[in-house]
């Protein structure tokens, strides 16, 4: 088992320094800004929880949060079942498996702005294949003008981009199941649904938790892809939390509100992730 050894601190020093430098210092800055007000010229006044109140009561924040939750909920509802379904349909071994996995993994390694640009080119009604196809079917589809089209495209893009992560994780969990389980199920007369419910799903629980956790976290923080695709529009119909925050922070340089919003945002992410993490490690310990 593990030995008691305070020397451990020495080992983690490089990591602590690097992460602390990148995390603590900026965080302190943000906290600092969130409780102060400035009228310019680098002069700051104490503002207490004023900015927090403003943000928490602001329509703009609620709207952005609402959009974000809708987005995250939708993509989770699509990507997790879809990913699992594809993993289930994949062969367990054979020469095609590496080929399939490599092709599926490709979207995961494309720089996020290229993903956005690619879908931009793909979905525009005049020059894009998808745009042309949908309009050709008689549906008036233009993501630069119609909010529903923008949402549709953003979600489709995310599904395209990240479902493979779920597929790969689910697949890893599936191939770890020994053959004997399937053989026993056959002998017990269990049908495919029973096999899924009683053997595959329970054995995939751990990987699925990781997948859901990762997808929740990353989709909640999403910035680049939708920004490049729609710029947050039309209007602000696809302005999610990160996009809104960057607009306020780097665009308007409203340091106070931006900082307060940052902290609220961070805390929400932290809370939900902590819940997931606890559930995950509690099952591991069992």
């Amino acid at each position: 088992m593990k030995t008691e050894n305070q020397k451990g601190w020495f080992f983690i020093l490089p990591v602590m320094l690097l992460v602390a430098f990148n995390a603590l210092v900026p965080l302190m800055t943000v906290v600092n800004y969130s409780v102060q007000e400035t009228f310019g010229n680098n002069v700051f006044f104490w503002h207490g929880v004023g900015w927090f109140e403003d943000v928490l009561h602001s329509e703009r924040f609620h709207a952005a949060l609402g959009r974000q939750l809708l987005f995250t909920g939708t993509i989770l509802a699509i990507e997790v079942p879809l990913g699992v379904a594809i993993a289930l349909a994949m062969p367990k071994k054979g020469p095609w498996v590496p080929v399939c996995l490599v092709l599926m993994a490709l979207p995961l390694l494309i720089p996020w702005n290229v993903v956005g640009a690619m879908w931009n080119i793909f979905a525009l009604p005049d020059i894009g294949l998808l745009g042309r196809m949908i309009n050709g079917m008689g549906i008036d589809y233009n993501m630069t003008q119609q909010p529903w089209a923008a949402w549709f495209t953003v979600i489709l893009m995310d599904v395209w981009h990240w479902t493979s992560l779920v597929v790969l994780l689910a697949y890893a969990g599936l191939i770890a199941i020994p053959d004997a389980y399937y053989q026993a199920a056959k002998i017990d007369g269990a049908g495919p649904w029973a096999v899924f419910r009683h053997i595959q799903l329970p054995k995939m629980k751990k990987v699925l938790t990781i997948a859901v956790l990762l997808r929740f976290m990353d989709s909640f923080m999403i910035y680049t892809e939708p920004f490049v695709l729609t710029g947050g529009g039309p209007g602000n119909s696809t302005t999610f939390l990160s996009i809104d925050l960057v607009k306020i922070a780097l665009g308007q340089f409203d340091l106070g509100p931006a900082a307060a919003m940052s902290l609220i945002y961070f805390v929400i992410t932290l809370l939900v992730s902590w819940v997931f993490y606890t559930v995950m490690t509690r099952d591991e310990a069992q």
Binding site: K2, T3, E4, N5, K7, G8, W9, F11, I12, P14, V15, V19, F21, N22, A23, V25, P26, V30, A85, I86, M90, V97, L101, V102, L103, M104, A105, L106, L108, L109, P111, W112, N113, V114, A117, M118, W119, I121, F122, L129, R132, W160, S164, V167, L168, L169, Y171, G173, K206, V207, M221, Y223, T224, V246, A249, L250, S262, T269, S273, Y277
Partner: protein, 266 residues
């Protein structure tokens, strides 16, 4: 029903390849052709876009910059994570569980929260617009991930290995480099893969911390999109070229993808 089963992965892969094909298609067309007509393959096949990228420093330096800071980041992240993961795996010390969790929370931090503070921080220490700045900034989320992955793999190596080495007279550094690291080589590969991946794809911080000298390809591309009209053909070609390093890396780790993706913890 059995014969229909491979249909799902095949359809899915076709779906994945479609936008990529469209991008490749555009990269071989001139911007005029793209805007003027619509066709499934280039009517006037041209390599002009690619030629521009390979000859214009503003473009190819973008790739160079990106690859450079990604490599630096991967190296730093894995190198720092190795001893830390070893400590978390083998030792119990004051606050270890809380520290581990705190590390993971950094992976959960929205980059947007850090955009402005990072800008100010790195400017303050005079590292603005350097490769090392982006490399260090990406450590924020890559190091926790690397530690998590490596710790998982290390826990799979029995402690007896360490003890045997000491009994055999190995000093700790020698043991670590000659015995321990080879035994978790798959884990190091997986960690390096993920560090590469998340650093290569990230745009927000990379753009915020650079201006000219270390400008990543991502920033060059967005600049093209916004300034002086859309040079679509060029954009498409640039995009296509960014896919290549990723494809290359996946190909390398293809045998580990199925297993390694379980992050050693499944």
């Amino acid at each position: 029903m059995q014969r229909l089963k491979p249909l799902a992965p095949i359809l899915y892969i076709l779906f994945l390849m479609l936008p990529i094909y469209w991008l490749v298609n555009m990269s071989f067309k001139t911007t005029n052709e793209i805007l003027g007509s619509f066709s499934l393959w280039p009517q006037e096949f041209t390599l002009a876009n690619y030629r521009t990228i390979f000859t214009d420093p503003t473009w190819y330096m973008g790739y160079y910059n990106s690859l450079l800071y990604v490599s630096i980041n991967t190296t730093i992240s894995v190198a720092a994570a190795l001893p830390a993961a070893y400590a978390f795996s083998r030792y119990r010390f004051l606050g270890d569980k809380h520290l581990f969790f705190w590390l993971l929370t950094n992976r959960m931090a929205p980059p947007a929260v850090f955009a402005l503070p990072f800008f100010q921080l790195y400017s303050a220490v005079g590292l603005f617009d350097t490769h090392i700045a982006v490399a260090l900034a990406h450590c924020l989320f890559n190091i926790p991930l690397a530690v998590w992955i490596l710790e998982g793999f290390m826990s799979g190596v029995p402690k007896e290995l360490d003890e045997t080495a000491y009994v055999d007279g190995y000093s700790f550094p020698r043991f670590f480099f000659r015995i321990f690291m080879p035994s978790i080589s798959a884990g190091i590969g997986v960690a390096a893969f993920f560090c590469f991946m998340f650093s290569w794809v990230e745009l927000l911080l990379a753009k915020t911390l650079t201006a000219v000298a270390a400008k990543p390809i991502a920033a060059t591309m967005t600049k093209t999109a916004s300034s002086a009209g859309y040079e679509l053909g060029l954009l498409a070609a640039a995009g296509c070229l960014t896919i290549i390093p990723g494809a290359f890396v996946i190909y390398f780790v293809r045998n580990y993808i199925a297993k390694g993706f379980a992050l050693g913890r499944v």
